[in-house]
């Protein structure tokens, strides 16, 4: 690349704009991503990186305005941080259209994985369907033949059920869409009981999942339950408590993944913040390390080179092997974890691998 644009002075410095949710509902996820990210930056000792952090309050319009601010006023090079798919959809296309790189530490909407994939967009976490697909695969492996499946009635919920069914080979005993933000699941639980199902798959992020699990465990039904990691993650698990014990959930990361990076990460995170890291913290940590690895190889001013460096994903992930598919989404192993109690703390243990080197269903549609 000979024609380096005038503003991109090759000083090796990178300005990162992080937009994430730090206040209101769901702030826990944003805080974990931020903390994981900053931990990696600190550990690298790299002085050439400057991170600006802003709170999107989980509102798409605020996220858009913050993105404008970071691009127009702060003139950042790289953006990251967004937790929610709907906020990502609001920000990512226009940010990348303006030549910025976007590294997603969490949200992976399907719209950005297939036809709508973008050269400057890299997802370090997963494509939204991944964990559900692994759950489906696990259910098939376990020989479940009649799953009852439920999720909230919004795009991510529909993707979840679709993702599960993609790898689940049995019969569907019942399929339910619940109201977004619903807190009482007595009616759904009664339907599960009456359906004659032999297993339950649910995707109910945040408080919805806590409510469902508590009510489910009090209902006297003892069908096996599988779900994606979101309702069983470190931050939320303590609130679910005993109701979660023994439940299988799928995740691309767990604190007991055995590799030096991960061990060091779990230890240093605990030392720094006084709590166990969560899935989101690991994603934040990996995102920062991906960025650092690219910075070591190329100057951000040279977009093509920098993009190529990112694509290499030449860093030690907490997940072990990590690589990007053609659509810049991870190709990775997805594990099945079981909720256990360690001392007083509820946590997860890996018991199986759901899918190996798994890419996503949309990659083929991406022309990159």
């Amino acid at each position: 690349a000979l024609a380096v644009p005038a503003i991109a002075v090759a000083d090796g410095k990178v300005k990162v704009g992080m937009i994430t949710t730090l206040s209101g509902g769901g702030a826990g996820l944003g805080i974990d991503v931020r903390d994981g990210f900053m931990l990696a930056i600190e550990q690298s000792g790299n002085k050439d990186i400057e991170v600006i952090i802003e709170d999107d309050q989980r509102k798409p319009d605020i996220a858009v305005q913050l993105a404008d601010k970071m691009i127009q006023s702060e003139k950042v090079d790289v953006m990251t941080g967004i937790i929610w798919s709907n906020l990502a959809m609001a920000v990512v296309p226009s940010a990348t259209a303006q030549g910025k790189f976007y590294l997603s530490p969490n949200a992976g909407p399907s719209a950005l994985a297939g036809k709508g994939c973008l050269p400057n967009y890299f997802n370090v976490a997963w494509q939204n369907d991944n964990l559900h697909e692994a759950a489906g695969a696990y259910a098939t492996d376990e020989g479940y033949g009649k799953s009852f499946i439920l999720a909230p009635n919004y795009p991510a919920g529909k993707d979840a059920l679709k993702g599960y069914k993609r790898f689940y080979k049995g019969e569907v005993a019942g399929e339910l869409y619940t109201k977004l933000g619903q807190t009482d699941y007595a009616a759904e639980i009664a339907q599960i009981r009456a359906s004659g199902a032999d297993s339950v798959f649910f995707f109910l992020p945040g408080g919805m999942g806590i409510s469902f699990l508590k009510q489910y465990s009090g209902s006297g039904i003892d069908l096996p339950v599988v779900g994606p990691a979101f309702s069983f993650d470190q931050g939320i698990l303590q609130a679910v408590g005993e109701a979660a014990l023994g439940i299988k959930n799928t995740s691309q990361w767990n604190k007991d993944i055995d590799n030096p990076t991960n061990t060091a990460f779990v230890e240093s995170f605990q030392a720094e913040y006084g709590r166990l890291p969560s899935l989101y913290a690991s994603q934040g940590f990996d995102t920062a390390n991906l960025l650092l690895s690219a910075m070591a190889k190329a100057d951000v001013g040279d977009a093509d080179a920098f993009r190529a460096a990112l694509k290499l994903a030449d860093f030690d992930s907490t997940r072990g092997d990590f690589m990007f598919g053609n659509n810049h989404h991870p190709v990775q192993d997805i594990y099945v974890r079981e909720v256990i109690k360690e001392g007083d703390i509820y946590t997860n243990k890996i018991i199986a691998t759901g899918l190996t080197d798994h890419a996503d269903a949309y990659a083929a549609d991406c022309s990159m």
Partner: protein, 307 residues
Amino acid sequence: MSTILLIEQFLNGIQFGVMLFLMAAGLTLIFGVMGLINLAHGSLYMIGAFAAATVASLTGSFLLAIIASVVAAAVFGAIVEFSILRRLYDRDHLDQVLATFALILIFSEGTRWLFGSFPLYLDVPEALSGTVVLLGDIQYSRYRLAIIFIGLLVAVGLYLLISKTRVGMRIRAGENDREMIGALGIDISKLYTWVFALGAGLAGLAGALVGAIQSVQVGMGEPVLILAFVVIVIGGIGSIKGAFIGSLLVGLTDTLGRVLLPIAFSTFMESSAATSVASSLSSMLIYLLMAGVLLLKPSGLFGRAPS
């Protein structure tokens, strides 16, 4: 769908309604009877749940946790009433909206500051966990039965308090004309502080009771607040009876809608699409119900028409 399942869902609807009533009861008192639009009612509900979770984790006693929830919410309520809200009774409803909106911000973020961003743990006590068998074949959560029972108790207690006691008359008189009831020798300010504390305490109780089977987290009060408003508006503002009937109606509509609509739609649609469409419609159902009720009876089912 089998009859027995239908009956069970009917019960679930009633139970959900009673749970709503627990939340709406305090609101009717403060809003319907004292005439104060208190958007921060949901925050008091949250305070109750957090207090309960904290005390439960410290002492391990659910009973103490419940007491703590009532006391904490009532004390917060009294402080807020005494220091802020009492200056707003004579003002426009809009000022109350803004002030209590501000209180939501303070309470929510204050709670997050104290307790962090993750949900807390609060579970049903051993004695009330598990299920009982009803009508021969329905397994029903013991805890939910307890909630129904407490809800009924609160309903009766409040009804008697408001409509049959002198205190109740004074509260309602104050709602008509505060200045006048004062001029007749009643210390309405003090009375209102008590009433507010009572309403807040009920919100706290609801927060703790319901929190045990849902999630105790910042912002948990907001959806509840809207539902509680829907309930008391359907029932007619200021009427305890109305709030009770309204709760049951909303509970039944919501539950049965969730259950029956997908079945109805799947008779003429592919099942996945049917659940999705039915679910969209069922999330709107209680609002349709409310709009419908108000269009037919512009002051709710048991509200008095403005004279």
